[in-house]
Symmetry: C2
Subunit: 111 residues, 2 copies
């Protein structure tokens, strides 16, 4: 159940373009909330909310440095989300292949 | 921008365990809302809402058959979500590799 909740948070965090852009930005190095907010012309409050969602998903870590809050990539690397999508697609493709084989074999019988 | 909104919907749709389970169920074949709701002990209204989210993300298609609404997998196969995660992770790994090389070369200089 814990696993489920974590992957829910991962996908939820990725469902917003600003949050995906923040992850890409932090991939180049850590940044303060102010630095993150600037290119988006976003209020600090707005950016703080996005960072909080990313932090709850463990995709971002933050620490207070002086008066600023410095953000960097967290312990999670989207493995769980990638694994779920991949296994879902593989499973689906396997079923479609078997359906194709079944249709082929039916065609063969009709001939 | 349209692309962005679509991937937002894809990730948003995947952020719920019931919706992920519905996708897995529909991978085995189409089902009515009633059939989908049953194993989750969920109200029809609740399941309809989940199906609507999946439909907006184009992950599920529905059609009215008599009095029932039949659901099947939609045109999208999570390609966009998979592509985003993969390119993000590859990019990140590339940066970590280069950082590792830089640290190695610095160690070499110190010797």
């Amino acid at each position: 159940m814990v696993q489920y909740q974590q992957i829910d948070r991962t996908f939820g965090a990725l469902s917003d373009p600003t949050r995906r852009a923040v992850l890409e930005r932090l991939g180049t190095g850590s940044a303060t909330i102010t630095e993150l907010a600037e290119p988006f012309e976003m209020s600090l409050t707005g950016m703080k909310k996005h960072v909080r969602v990313l932090e709850e998903a463990e995709l971002v870590s933050t620490e207070k440095v002086g008066r600023a809050r410095r953000c960097s990539l967290g312990p999670r690397r989207l493995e769980d989300a990638q694994t779920w999508i991949e296994s879902y697609r593989e499973n689906l493709e396997g079923r479609l292949d078997r359906l194709g084989e079944l249709l082929e074999s039916q065609k063969g019988k009709k001939r």
